[in-house]
């Protein structure tokens, strides 16, 4: 049984057995949940399908959320990519479009998979689905990479937090980006150690990011932070796959995130009292919505 107290421990165990992190996690979870591996795989495959459906729906949607604050931006991004106006390359632009799409579907009360939360639900699928499309990868490999994301996510949840109310946005969009980065590395053939470095590098880039939702809604800045989280994941994965290492080991980065989250004032942890939520425009929006 694995305790999920350390990502390095996952990496070491995977290395020792000559397996990918995903295989190790799937085997362990099947044992812990007393269910066959096939059943867990099927359940994860169903989640991937919901993710793909949400992306497809959001990419063409024009409707707005109940508050009117979000909806339609993914469509703009997609049209821009389709028109060949990508500034930073097709993979990144497509990833951004999907991240916006899924986050907008969430804001509009559509069906999503919390990954690890509803507020950060666009990051992991945007990265993995885009890599799948661009590299013609099998569904099976993408499903497996979700077990890597989940395994690392369990360590983050146990040793720090995946809740904005507890640890700020670093714990939600930061964790999602870190999980996506590791899954992307595995998907593109990187080693378990590279997955850990990618996870560390993604998390390091957003340490201290606060959770300051306008009017307390999972919309502004959450939807666009899904896009930046997905980009962050691709950056970290790209660096790790090039052989770049994180100087601070991943488990220590997670410890730092926990300490930062604890030190963060309450006004910046999902209470909508500080940060962007406390700007004149946000306060006006909040007044208009509450009316």
């Amino acid at each position: 049984m694995i305790s999920y107290d350390s990502i390095q421990e996952l990496v070491d165990k995977a290395k020792k057995k000559g397996k990918m992190i995903s295989e190790l996690v799937l085997e362990d979870q099947a044992r812990q949940m007393e269910q066959p591996q096939e059943e867990l795989f099927e359940q994860m495959r169903a989640s991937l399908q919901v993710m793909a459906d949400a992306a497809a729906k959001g990419l063409t949607a024009v409707s707005k959320s109940a508050s009117g604050l979000s909806g339609g931006d993914a469509n703009k991004m997609r049209q821009s990519v389709d028109a060949g106006r990508s500034l930073s390359g097709k993979v990144l632009s497509e990833t951004l479009a999907k991240a916006l799409a899924i986050a907008e579907v969430n804001a509009c009360m559509g069906r999503i998979v919390a990954a690890p939360t509803a507020g950060s639900c666009g990051i992991i699928p945007a990265v993995l689905l885009t890599l799948q499309e661009e590299n013609d990868l099998s569904e099976e490999r993408v499903v497996m990479s979700l077990f890597t994301a989940a395994g690392l996510g369990m360590v983050i949840a146990r040793k720090a937090s995946i809740s904005g109310a507890e640890g700020g946005c670093q714990a939600e969009c930061g964790s999602a980006a870190a999980m996506a980065a590791a899954a992307a590395v595995e998907l593109m053939g990187g080693s378990p150690q590279m997955c850990a470095h990618a996870c560390a590098m993604a998390l390091k880039s957003v340490l201290g990011l606060v959770c300051d939702p306008v009017a307390g809604l999972v919309e502004v800045p959450c939807v666009k932070r899904n896009a930046s989280g997905a980009a962050n994941a691709l950056i970290a994965a790209e660096m790790a796959l090039a052989g770049i290492e994180s100087t601070i080991p991943v488990d220590e980065v997670i410890g730092a995130m926990k300490a930062i989250g604890d030190a963060m004032p309450k006004s910046l942890k999902e209470t909508a009292e500080g940060g962007l939520a406390d700007t004149p425009t946000a306060k006006k929006i909040a007044r208009d919505i509450l009316r």
Partner: protein
């Protein structure tokens, strides 16, 4: 915790606590009321009261009362559905410093005028805690098969009910007994590892002085 707590649940957005959790509170209220109520009044506290329109907390609670699960895509249309199905509803913003910031108090009335009160709090990640049934303060989360057994506060009642469970080979995962005052209204909340069938509920109700018992199936 397992992998599906991290990649999952599959749910309708936008918020696990304000939407998915709210559906579950509504669902428990439906079970306790014994089906779809004729009319409900829902009091919202704290963050639920502040942000319910933007998070669709109102639609979510109504959806739960109509029997939907947190991943049902009809949640966003639940208010219209409730009107079609003849369930009247009213929302009120309330204040109470004592309760968790994401709390709803649901007062339901059935066709015969019988009133049921359920109060629940959404405590994060879509998980909930039920903290009041009618006039009695309780605590359970809907993860197990849960039996609510109201009874008079007299000796032997608990033994009689638990013996019935033992006879059927049902293991009690957790059990608590609550009462309004000594010798007054009381309630057993029994969470079990195995599925509880309807016949067992009838047997429990046949025990002397046990009033209408309620069986709640796991909501996760």
């Amino acid at each position: 915790m397992n992998v599906f707590d991290i990649i999952g649940p599959i749910m309708v957005g936008p918020s696990s606590s304000h939407t998915a959790g709210a559906v579950r509170i509504g669902k428990i209220a439906r079970a306790v009321a014994g089906g779809q109520p004729a009319a409900v009044t829902i009091e919202l506290y704290g963050s639920f009261a502040q942000t319910y329109k933007g998070h669709g907390t109102d639609k979510a609670i109504i959806a739960g009362l109509l029997g939907m699960a947190p991943d049902d895509e009809r949640i966003k249309d639940s208010l219209e559905l409730a009107r079609e199905l003849g369930m009247a509803f009213k929302f009120k913003k309330s204040h109470n410093k004592e309760v968790h910031p994401n709390t709803a108090l649901i007062s339901a009335v059935d066709q015969t005028g019988k009133k049921t009160i359920v109060q629940g709090s959404s405590v994060g990640g879509g998980r909930i805690v039920v903290n009041r049934i009618n006039e009695i303060n309780v605590k359970f989360n809907g993860e197990y098969y849960t039996l609510l057994v109201p009874h008079n506060d007299t000796p032997g009642m608990i033994a009689a009910v638990t013996n019935l469970l033992a006879d059927q080979g049902i293991n009690i995962a957790e059990m608590n007994v609550y009462r309004s005052h000594r010798g007054g209204e009381a309630m057993m909340v029994i969470e079990t590892d195995q599925a509880v069938k309807g016949e067992l509920v009838s047997l429990i109700e046949a025990v002397n002085k046990v009033k209408k018992a309620v069986l709640i199936k796991p909501i996760y």
